[in-house]
Symmetry: C2
Subunit: 279 residues, 2 copies
């Protein structure tokens, strides 16, 4: 992997890398914040999955997470949200399909299936790469994300028992099969057989018996996407039915923006740090 | 003034306003973060002046300052860096002249002089407006900023004794008359008489006898503009000669970006809070 940028921040280093992805068959860019502790020892990592339209840049610029990561001795691993490039399938006039909208699935349908393998990329290729090349403790990972990336974090944790020490989400798309955003992407990437979509749907995975460690979710009550896209009550219902320990915090007056994320990212990172230290 | 946006963050509200500026003869946009304390009492304000190319948005999105402001009970007042609009003079292919590059001076030269009155706007019109309309303690202000805005903060404090309780800066343009950025703007806005530029030059103001409260300045050693544009050693020299108490912290390995600002903004706001509490 090529080290293309290093910016000092909170005593550590915000790095950006580019590499040829085997999963996605294209060059992929990602960022890793290494806290000051990583200069002398290996550290655990929290993976951040971003939402629609984001690259690795949004979180590192807007969330204010590096301060907490430096205090807690956590690395932050921040992948892109899709394969990208002139040769990569896209729908340029859609923000919610194609580049910037990988939805953390392995696409099975043309023309997407060659490159849109974000589930494998995020759960397998990227961890193997950064744990081999950077001062990270192998296998000691947690995962979180926002909106489409909150969906991604929940699905990764549910489908990969033991791979993550903890999981949380900000305003996740809990039930993408029931949301316009999810339906558009799942139909394109996974095809018309809606039952195949259930493999990447948090509500359906839990209904089917997937278990997980406790879930921490923050959701703003003034989130403009809450009623149509996120389906938070469906998650509450299935967690109650399946006895999944869910801490769902409805945050009064908060919206869907990075200002909401910035407000609570410190508590999420502290939650992950506790789980990672206990591992 | 028109209240055009309110976003909840850290228990307070990040507001954006638009108003018809008397100084600049155009509509001006600015942001004010009101901490949770402002719901029940008036609070002191820290003014943030941004650098070249910025609007009010950069600082509120990238600096991570709202967390500290909420903890310390400080409002953040964030003006734009120039007048803006289709009718406002500009040099569209220049990032360092015209819109986005007001340099916090009162222009005297056509075509700039009608609108580019940013010194009056920042030191007089905006404080009077926000102190009349928002829960701010009248007259209880501090000021800071970055690069061109660091220059602006220092100049405002030097030229307005008593108006601010404290002043600090991040990577300020200390001696704009000696920097390419400053020379380009001062020549356009103030004309060919270079002695007229000294009224907005920190080094020259201090040489001429202006005094100020102690200065806190952070400067990254890996700042790509340090050697050519910022002239930090000239400020050190005149502060020593004139017995101005300067705390200049050369921060090893930090660049000119908002990642640098984010790292140290908490310490600056704590410094301002201490001065504002003591007032």
């Amino acid at each position: 992997m090529e080290h293309i940028e290093a910016i000092k921040e909170f005593g550590g280093w915000l790095n950006r890398y580019c590499h040829d992805s085997v999963s996605c068959h294209c060059a992929m860019t990602f960022s890793v914040y290494l806290p000051p502790q990583a200069a002398t020892e290996k550290v655990p990592a929290v993976y951040w999955l971003s939402g629609l339209t984001c690259t690795d840049d949004n979180f590192r610029v807007k969330a204010g997470a590096q301060r907490y990561a430096a205090e807690l001795g956590l690395a932050l691993v921040i992948p892109d949200t899709s394969p990208r490039g002139a040769e990569i399938p896209d729908v340029p006039d859609r923000y919610d399909l194609g580049q910037g909208a990988g939805f953390y699935v392995n696409a099975t349908q043309p023309p997407w299936s060659k490159n849109y393998q974000m589930y494998d990329y995020v759960t397998r290729e990227l961890p193997a790469l950064v744990e081999a090349e950077l001062p990270l403790i192998p296998g000691l990972r947690s995962i979180t994300g926002h909106s489409m990336g909150g969906h991604g974090a929940l699905v990764c944790a549910l489908k990969e028992p033991g791979a993550y020490q903890s999981v949380s989400a900000f305003a996740p798309i809990c039930h993408p099969m029931a949301s316009g955003w999810g339906q558009g992407c799942f139909k394109a990437y996974l095809g018309n057989d809606r039952e195949s979509w259930a493999a990447y749907d948090t509500v359906r995975l839990i209904e089917a018996g997937a278990t997980t460690m406790p879930l921490l979710i923050d959701q703003g009550t003034a989130d403009e996407f809450l009623s149509q896209q996120l389906h938070t009550p469906s998650l509450e219902r299935v967690c109650a039915a399946r006895k999944i320990p869910l801490t769902l915090r409805m945050q009064d007056g908060y919206d869907h923006s990075y200002h909401f994320i910035a407000t609570f990212i410190g508590e999420h990172l502290a939650w992950h740090a506790q789980a990672l230290r206990a591992a």
